[in-house]
């Protein structure tokens, strides 16, 4: 083989990536040695998982507490039709032909290089942010609703975390979820693929990661706004100079709302599998 770290078969399989100057053999080996945690196998997690698995990330861990429902099929492209009522983690692993391996305290036992947030509620987003800050892991955050999507990377180098931008959670009655508002599958496809892209850029040490920037996608006009965000805030409760939050808190209480869409059981991470 050309490389002691990639087999001949892997070299064929990833050749179209390794031809790209910004990736190359070095980037491919970095991806193979990486470990990524994907939270939520919904509209965002499905395409992100597909592209990360296809890119040859060494270990991908899924967390989702939900089961497959018929209303998911407009966008959650990893789940097969016969998998209604099966757990989303199992369903995704089926599709990606992955092994399974149940874990409990993910961050205690594992070092993730990147966490990808495909969750669908405010409480989980604060939980993941704090978990990533406390464990010094970058968080690739995507979200979508109706015909709009947003993308950014938190807690990367001197960029802000979610709490730097949003120290106080939004009033619960201003939050619309996909169950209430709907979401176009193609929009989650764009944002999920962009989350996979940012993850690959972080893992291959590429420049211009979407940290300190926010991408705002308006599908109704097919326009993207790329805006500059504040840096890490010294006054931030979790990543600032004098953090008040030094361990995980009760996020449902903090947000005044349930992690209603059931992407994650905030107390016990039950459904977890690795590929």
């Amino acid at each position: 083989p050309y490389s002691t770290q990639l087999s001949c078969q892997e070299i064929s399989r990833y050749s179209r990536h390794m031809l790209i100057p910004q990736i190359g053999m070095k980037g491919q080996i970095a991806m193979k040695q990486s470990s990524v945690l994907i939270i939520g196998l919904g509209g965002l997690g499905c395409p992100a998982a597909l592209y990360l698995a296809a890119a040859g990330i060494g270990t991908i861990t899924f967390v989702d507490y939900d089961e497959v429902e018929i209303t998911n099929f407009n966008r959650q492209i990893l789940h097969a039709e016969d998998n209604i009522n099966v757990s989303k983690v199992e369903s995704a692993c089926d599709m990606l032909q992955a092994n399974s391996n149940t874990l409990q305290n993910l961050f205690d036992k594992n070092k993730y290089d990147v966490v990808l947030d495909g969750s669908d509620n405010v409480a989980t987003r604060y939980l993941l942010n704090d978990m990533c800050v406390l464990n010094q892991v970058p968080l690739v955050s995507g979200s979508a609703l109706q015909m709009e999507g947003q993308l950014t990377v938190y807690n990367f180098e001197d960029g802000p975390c979610y709490r730097c931008l949003f120290p106080i959670p939004p009033p619960p009655d201003t939050v619309t979820n996909c169950g209430d508002g709907g979401v176009l599958g193609a929009v989650t496809g764009v944002i999920g693929a962009l989350q996979a892209l940012e993850t690959i850029k972080i893992l291959t040490k590429a420049d211009n990661v979407m940290s300190g920037r926010l991408l705002i996608f308006d599908a109704s006009s097919t326009t993207f706004l790329n805006v500059k965000l504040r840096k890490k805030q010294e006054t931030c409760d979790v990543c600032g100079l004098k953090p008040k939050i030094t361990q995980l808190i009760d996020y449902e209480q903090f947000c005044g709302s349930k992690a209603h869409d059931k992407v994650i059981d905030i107390n016990i991470l039950t459904e977890v599998e690795n590929i």
Binding site: G142, S143, E148, C178
Partner: protein
């Protein structure tokens, strides 16, 4: 009484409070004083916001979960409510999304 033409944009669901209209070209009348974003927020409340102002404003600023952008830059880098509005500024109010 110079006129101060600016563009206001609402995204991420914030447009629902403004007749579901994302783009608003408005002209502020600048008498003697300068226009800050703080003053603009009051103007929006009085002139554009039809109902339930608490879903947009809170304590003389925007409510938590809304990000304000001045010409594609986070207002936190522009002195927030104290930023002095310039002609042709584009000010975006974006409600963050949480769905997936």
């Amino acid at each position: 009484m110079a006129k101060l033409p600016i563009t206001l944009q609402f995204n991420g669901g914030a447009e629902l409070l403004f007749d579901n209209k994302k783009l608003h070209n408005v002209e502020l009348i600048s008498e003697h004083r300068e226009w800050t974003i703080g003053k603009l927020l009051i103007w929006i409340k009085e002139n554009l916001l039809k109902e339930r102002p608490e879903l947009f404003l809170q304590d003389e600023s925007v409510r938590p979960g809304i990000l304000v952008l001045v010409n594609d830059v986070d207002w936190e880098l522009m002195d927030t409510v104290n930023y002095k509005i310039q002609p042709s500024d584009r000010i975006v109010f974006i409600s963050t999304l949480h769905g997936g």
